[in-house]
Amino acid sequence: MFKLILRSTYKTYHGKLGYLFLLLLMTGSVAHIVLLKTIWPVNIYDPIIGFDLSVFPHPVAPSGSHLLGTDPLGRDVLSMFLAGSEPLIKLSIVSFITGLVSSLLVGTFVPFLFRHFDLVLREFSSGLVLISPPIVLLILGTGDFLEKLSPETVGFIYGTLGGLGVCYLVISTRVKELINSEFLNASRVIGASELQIALRHILPLIIPYSVALMLSVTTSGIVAYGFASFFGQVGWTPNWGMMIYDAITYGSYLGGTNLWNLLPPTFGFIFCSSSFYLISISVKKQFGISL
């Protein structure tokens, strides 16, 4: 099923563009690791503690040694930009997988096999939909949890909120529509157990819904992580939110706020969030999901 989704989404323009953006980001992340180990000296090009003593004052405009210039704290913008994609890719993958697994596991079995429990779970999911995940991240980032708020943790929190929230509501409604369909009754007549029906018939039909929804949720997760990182709520990881914060805050004191400091992280966020959203649109188009 996942292979089919991958193949069919690639056929649309949305899918092609989405995969291209994702590939660019992944290549950037790998390139950063390779460059830092081979060509770039760590003391100059480290995305957090790097500083180029040979040029002064910082920030400097794009040049041969610093292709995207340096930020007000003397760090190489290209190195920060490439390093910033890694946490977001981690977050997206963890969030997508967590949400997919939780929504498929709970969404397939509970409305089909444990219908009474479904009523309770739907109320719980409706409550989860009301919670604003960026605010939860803001709250978590104020305390001792700050150091533990890694991209994977944020992805897990976001995936759980999305998977058991909006995704569960949609999936359980779809499962309820399917419960009395003729092909399921036919399977029952020829002796298939409820578990077999859930796994063989229901699960494949709801996978595209879950994939499309979780890709959209992941997009909001990326934007929310950006907000949290802008406010310094995600600890000392190289990220684009912090790049924007540093460019504006320190830039106003040290040499002015420059576009070459602001544009790379802005485009980074645009590429990253649009890649998942475009693939999500592609899934919806290819599988006729009108959500």
Binding site: Y13, H14, I131, P133, I139, T142, F227, S273, S274
Partner: protein, 357 residues
């Protein structure tokens, strides 16, 4: 649920006092004020106090209920005009598309929508803040208007607050009309009429000094509205693309097209009317994210609404104030959702039909 989120805030409303008191004194105070009581007991006490009109309970208060409630109107001052502007402006790309192309992929429009959503509020502030400020300054110089936005404190807050709300909505209708005229969509007679009526009410019921104060207040308000609008437009463009694409595949659109109705008529009589309810439902589902955007935007521009108050309350570990704001935001979300559901029952003939049966 919101009380549950509040528990996640590290420390409690007494934590900020740790710099002024010893740990023993703080523990004693915690016992006296019931901060160490079981959660269920604290929750019951909070519910009781909410019903008695006090939404920031807990003995020691950094921010009173009044301080928190005073942020409601400023929030509406930016939220409602942003909604008005973004709902209408987000329709422009669809209105400029030919009916037969509506069912096709809208990759540019989708990418543009995502681009607007992913733009960081501080970046938008950096791009438009200075320009809007200089525009207001030149307008004030042109019309020789003098005064400060702090003069708003001299007048009755509630009165001028409501007056300003009408003024801001009127301005947003004028902005929408200008954009619709520029995009050559149609002459927005109704919108201009509504704007004119609202401005007339403001000029009749408020004296000149109050109106000048509103103009000065507008400067900061419209920077916040501008940023929030950019984010909301992105979101609404994506909503519109999906909704309109689904509607355009329906039989009645094909029939209208075959009969030979003009693009304008098909949009006005079939597509826009049918898109209202799915659009409203999506807005209702997305309200928590809109509120999150409000927090970010307000704390970026320093606007004194619920968003920036919530941010400051969380940062200063003032859990009582945070609880009060989360409670107000829950009420705001529920009210907007109820309003949307109620309007669906009133205006949707299909739902009315079901009710009658």
């Amino acid at each position: 649920m919101f009380y549950g989120i509040n528990i996640l805030i590290p420390g409690d409303f007494l934590t900020p006092l740790r710099l002024m008191m010893s740990q023993e004194e703080l523990d004693a105070l915690r016992d006296t004020l019931g901060a160490n009581d079981p959660l269920i007991q604290q929750y019951y006490r909070w519910i009781q106090s909410v019903f008695s009109g006090e939404i920031t309970p807990g003995g020691f208060r950094q921010r009173s209920s009044k301080t928190v409630l005073d942020t409601v109107l400023p929030t509406l001052h930016v939220l409602l005009p942003s909604f008005v502007i973004s709902i209408y402006l987000s329709r422009i790309p669809v209105l400029k598309t030919k009916v037969k192309r509506l069912g096709k992929e809208k990759i540019f429009s989708d990418v543009f929508g995502i681009l607007l959503i992913s733009l960081f509020p501080p970046i938008i502030y950096f791009l438009i803040g200075e320009r809007l400020e200089s525009l207001f300054r030149s307008l004030f110089n042109q019309f020789e208007i003098t005064g400060t936005s702090s003069e708003i404190l001299l007048f009755s807050e509630l009165r001028i607050g409501f007056g300003y709300l009408l003024f801001a909505i009127a301005c947003s209708y004028i902005i929408v009309s200008i954009f619709e005229l520029l995009a050559l969509i149609h002459i927005p007679k109704q919108k201009l009429l509504i704007a004119g009526l609202l401005l007339l009410i403001v000029f009749l019921f408020f004296d000149a000094k109050e109106v000048v104060t509103m103009l000065f207040y507008s400067k900061n308000a419209f920077i916040t509205i501008g940023i929030l609008t950019v984010l909301l437009i992105g979101e609404f463009i994506l909503f519109n693309n999906i909704i309109v694409q689904n509607i355009s595949k329906e039989d009645h659109i094909m029939t209208a097209s075959a009969i030979g109705y003009s693009n304008q008529k098909i949009f006005k009589d079939h597509i826009i009317r049918n898109s209202f309810f799915p659009f409203a439902t999506r807005i209702a589902i997305n309200l928590p994210y809109t509120i999150a955007s409000l927090v970010i935007v307000e704390s970026t521009t320093g606007w004194g609404g619920m968003g920036s108050m919530l941010y400051r309350a969380i940062m200063s570990q003032d859990s009582n104030a945070a609880m009060a704001i989360l409670f107000l935001l829950a009420i705001l979300t529920a009210t907007l959702r109820l309003g949307i559901n109620f309007s669906q029952i009133v205006f949707n003939p299909q739902l009315r039909g079901t009710r009658n049966v």
